[in-house]
């Protein structure tokens, strides 16, 4: 199903893509704006600013305005998010004796599991359903093996990361308890 949609998106004629863009940006500019704002970190000023401005943009100009904002959000929002993550990583206590390190470990565990499941399960599902695309028997079996390896690796790595992070989190909690006891 997903493969068919992706194939369709890439092989569709240019006028179909243009029509889809007009429909998406023309009929649903507000949802598109909300979606594009997800690129900005939570609580960033730009979030409220764009939503406030949207009200005052004339209906005729909204599609272009939203497309412009969406493009800017993808570039700037992602950059700011990446910078925030980098700062958080540099401030992270790698020896694990604070509450924030334990929280970060838990976030890493959940994130790793989510990535594993979201990459691995669809890959397995596509594999079970026969790949979703027309393949020759030779290329089909090769593709199946690659899909299985990718899915297995994604789930395996994410599970390992999750286990390591939970262990790390537990260690941090023990260290914190020990520190509290020493203080008392």
């Amino acid at each position: 199903m997903m493969n068919e949609l992706i194939n369709e998106a890439f092989t569709a004629p240019i006028w179909t893509k243009a029509f889809a863009a007009v429909v998406i940006f023309g009929l649903a500019p507000y949802p598109v704006l909300r979606l594009s704002l997800l690129f900005w970190p939570k609580g960033h000023d730009r979030h409220e600013e764009y939503l406030g401005e949207f009200e005052h943009v004339s209906y005729a100009k909204r599609p272009i305005w939203v497309a412009d904002v969406a493009a800017r959000s993808v570039i700037d929002g992602t950059t700011i998010r990446a910078r925030a993550i980098k700062t958080r990583m540099s401030e992270f206590n790698w020896h694990g004796s604070t509450r924030s390190s334990s929280r970060t470990a838990r976030t890493v565990a959940i994130g790793a599991a989510a990535v594993g499941v979201s990459v691995g399960l669809p890959a397995l599902a596509i594999d079970r359903s026969g790949g979703g695309t027309v393949q020759t028997s030779e290329s089909g079996s090769g593709g199946d093996i690659i899909l299985l390896v990718v899915a297995g690796a994604a789930i395996g790595v994410s599970l390992l990361l999750a286990i390591a992070s939970v262990a790390w989190s537990a260690r941090a909690r023990r260290a914190r308890r020990a520190a509290t006891r020493t203080d008392a």
Binding site: D45, R46, E53, H56, D68, V69, R72
Partner: protein, 93 residues
């Protein structure tokens, strides 16, 4: 440069992003990074107008030129007036 001229048209007033993009004919994708840089450099200050003040549904962000901003933008605009790249392009005589 267009943004500078639009802001200097009302140097003491407060202006919001969309109005600035309309008067300066600069796309929003270009305008907001410029405003960000001006904020960082202390050329403008920002303030929020709450919905209860304006009657709008959402808060709105306004930008006001600071003394430094007026000076700097004035200097930029003055130098651009003699710059051959801008002569006849920015609505100046």
């Amino acid at each position: 440069m267009r943004v500078a001229i639009a802001m200097l048209a009302d140097p003491m007033g407060r202006q919001y992003g969309y109005a600035l993009s309309q008067t300066s004919h600069v796309r929003s994708g270009v305008l907001y990074p410029i405003l960000d840089r001006m904020l960082e450099d202390g050329w403008v200050t920002d303030e929020w107008e709450m919905p209860e003040e304006s009657g709008a549904k959402r808060p709105r962000r306004y930008y006001t030129l600071t003394d430094l901003g007026r000076r700097e933008l004035g200097a930029v605009a003055a130098s651009a007036k003699t710059d051959p790249r801008f002569v006849g392009r920015l609505g100046w005589a």
